[in-house]
């Protein structure tokens, strides 16, 4: 990917990637930091040449950074939470956090990639280093798990009716 193409895709996708990382982090600052890490990594020499799709790359690298920071954050709780800066929350956002909180971390990441960022199963497999079959199975299991819960039925299933 050349510089011009990168910038065009970046402008188009960054907001969705940031939101996806915020939701997965359950923290605005951690999500933004993860996105920032990915953005910084993309500027390193030679990296951009190997990027095929900006949103997939940023999400994958940001997710990796997020996992690392969340692991470190376990030592920092509770004081780390003082560093967050955020706009006032709304009930809708809390609902999403609650809904996704019923999934295992990997399922949560895959669901966001599939249904919020619209990644194909091939792209998910590529990004997470898993097979396409595993990606499909993970999504199926996540949906089944959500469907079994009361909150799942009460929230997202209504959207289809």
């Amino acid at each position: 990917m050349d510089r011009r193409q990168w910038e065009t895709e970046l402008v188009a996708c960054y907001a969705r990637v940031v939101r996806a990382l915020i939701v997965l982090a359950r923290s605005r600052e951690q999500g933004e930091d993860a996105f920032h890490d990915a953005l910084t990594a993309a500027l390193e020499p030679g990296v951009m040449d190997g990027i095929r799709r900006a949103d997939a790359w940023l999400f994958t690298v940001g997710l990796r950074s997020l996992r690392k920071s969340q692991w470190k954050a376990r030592l920092d709780v509770p004081l780390l939470n003082l560093r967050r800066t955020s706009s006032p929350p709304t009930t809708e956002r809390v609902e999403v956090i609650e809904l996704l909180g019923q999934l295992a971390p990997r399922q949560r990441e895959v669901v966001i990639a599939r249904f919020y960022l619209d990644f194909s199963y091939e792209q998910i497999a590529d990004a997470f280093g898993i097979s396409v079959g595993t990606a499909t199975a993970t999504v199926s299991q996540a949906l089944a798990r959500l469907r079994k819960t009361e909150k799942g039925r009460a929230t997202w299933t209504n959207a289809s009716s």
Partner: protein, 543 residues
């Protein structure tokens, strides 16, 4: 409906739901993610690295072209960070005290030639103390031939560079570590009756008031007594005039700190252990900040897996050691040095990566303990850390045949610059001083104590604490000004809020426990440090 059909139907519904909800999250402009101060250094670092690689691989001219192209293409209107500031410069307003084998020399930052050479046999940095303004240097002089036995406390005015003047003599005693009062109105010092080699007799703590460069009356002996013969050293850390208290650290003659002591001018003494059998604290690693009234010290201990060398930083409120907090280094990182940044609520922590052995200067803003800003250091060993008296810049350097290092602006207004602090005739840089009287006056006019945080400060902090995904419905705050004068309670803010709090610490991180509906935060009112959080379901008496 078969399984595949159900899956597709569920997927479509979930997609619709997630996109509708998540898209509500507000996101800043793209430029905000590149221009955030904490990360800016990494961008600079990445750019520098790209230039270095290009330079090694290509001819010089080709590297310049490629580098310029890369930089130009990176700085687009949509993504460019703020322009790099100019490097910080050395200033003739400030000088350096460099320790020599026979005393110390004083020089300007901009001129390696000493402007003053002072002989003294006391070579420890703790026996030379610089006033808060950076202008006055107090030190001990041994009696000259023909004088009565006993050290003389001397005062040197760096702004006038006049000959040093004697402040007082401690008859038949050796002078020990000393520290200025928080408002520069006096000096607290340790001394010891002259007699033979260590461990020797117990050390005393005395105070002397100073006005217009002279002592106001004789030194006053405080009612401090060591607890056991093992405690051969006591070092005053701070003298808070408002609380009439001298804070000190006691330890063994081999440099291991044992207990923190508060000694009141009225004779009250309180003592608190700082290290135990499994936790080692060095005397040199204990620092006190009279402005935020906080004690910090570095603890080395055996890690959980049995390997030695784990580190943590522990904080105490000077007047209330019960308010203790610890902050452990993350695996793979070691805390190396601690330093307070004057006239801020910041602690500077030098950390070392165990794998790469590279150093980082972390700026810990006390309301946000933990790194709020990280500055990569070019040295592999921070042999000297010299904070300018106004707290805006710091020298960090290593001994490598000469005293070279970096001058780093801590307020982010300038880029770091290389600095050589090697003095003509030698000397190890130890302290930064103020040579300009106007600059000294400006620094002296700054408040000696960090003001208590306001209710609005606390509210803002709580709203950050309970940010996304929490929700606050009602909130109220109350201030407890603490008790003085001696070792009472530090001032605290208590903030109570009702709402919905996902970060429910009763169950730890992970969100597996239901949200709480009442949260109570307690903060140190001077530093903003979070002292405790309580989450409950009952909303009665919660606001």
């Amino acid at each position: 409906m078969d399984e595949r059909e159900q899956l597709e139907r569920d997927g479509a519904a979930l997609r619709s739901h997630l996109q509708a909800r998540i898209d509500l999250i507000e996101v800043g402009g793209l430029v905000t993610y590149l221009a955030r101060p904490r990360r800016r250094h990494r961008l600079v670092q990445a750019a520098r690295f790209s230039f270095a690689v290009a330079g090694a691989a290509l001819l010089l001219i080709a590297a310049l072209i490629v580098g310029t192209q890369f930089r130009l293409s990176r700085v687009t209107p949509a993504t460019s960070p703020v322009p790099s500031p100019a490097p910080i410069g050395l200033s003739a307003k400030y000088g350096i005290v460099a320790l020599t084998p026979d005393g110390f020399v004083v020089r300007s930052e901009t001129d390696p030639n000493p402007i003053r050479r002072i002989e003294t046999s006391h070579l420890f940095p703790q026996t030379v103390a610089v006033s808060r303004s950076g202008r006055l240097v107090a030190y001990w002089r041994q009696p000259t031939v023909g004088e009565d036995r006993g050290d003389v406390l001397m005062l040197y005015d760096a702004a006038t560079n006049a000959d040093p003047r004697p402040l007082l003599k401690v008859a038949n005693e050796n002078g020990g570590p000393l520290v200025w009062a928080d408002d520069d109105s006096g000096i607290a010092f340790a001394s010891q009756i002259f007699r033979g080699p260590a461990p020797g007799p117990p050390m005393k703590i005395q105070i002397v008031e100073i006005a217009n460069g002279a002592a106001r009356g004789p030194a006053k002996l405080l009612q401090y007594q060591r607890e056991s013969a093992e405690l051969g050293v006591v070092r005053p850390l701070a003298w808070i005039r408002e609380t009439r208290t001298v804070s000190a650290i006691e330890g063994t003659i081999d440099g291991v700190a044992k207990s923190y002591v508060t000694v009141g001018e009225d004779g009250a003494v309180k003592r608190y252990a700082v290290s135990g059998s499994d936790q080692v604290v060095r005397l040199d690693d204990v620092i006190a900040d009279p402005q935020t009234r906080t004690l910090a010290y570095l603890v080395t201990f055996r890690c959980q897996d049995g390997t030695p060398g784990c580190t943590l930083v522990r904080f105490w409120t000077l007047e209330d050691p019960q308010q203790a907090l610890g902050w452990q280094a993350t695996p793979g990182t070691t805390f190396m040095h601690l330093l307070w940044q004057p006239f801020t609520r910041n602690l500077l922590v030098v950390t070392r990566s165990d794998r790469g052995r590279f150093l980082t200067l972390q700026v810990w803003s006390s309301p946000h303990f933990g790194s709020s800003q990280s500055i990569p250091l070019s040295q592999s060993d921070a042999s000297f850390l010299l904070m300018r008296p106004d707290g805006r810049a710091i020298f960090v350097g290593a001994l490598s045949g000469s005293w070279r290092g970096d001058l780093i602006a801590l307020d982010g207004t300038a880029a770091p610059s290389a600095a050589d602090l090697t003095s003509t005739g030698g000397g190890a840089p130890a302290l930064s001083i103020t040579l300009d009287s106007n600059e000294a006056g400006r620094v002296a006019a700054l408040p000696p104590a960090a003001p208590l945080l306001s209710e609005s400060d606390m509210m803002a902090q709580v709203r950050k604490t309970a940010g996304f995904p929490d929700r606050i419905d009602r909130v109220s705050a109350s201030l407890d000004r603490g008790t003085y004068p001696l070792a009472g309670r530090a001032p605290t803010w208590t903030v109570k809020a009702t709402g919905e709090f996902q970060q429910n610490f009763r169950g730890g991180p992970g969100g597996t426990v239901p949200p709480a509906h009442c949260a109570t935060w307690t903060f140190n009112a001077r530093t903003g440090v979070l002292l405790g959080v309580q989450m409950t379901d009952a909303v009665a008496n919660c606001s």
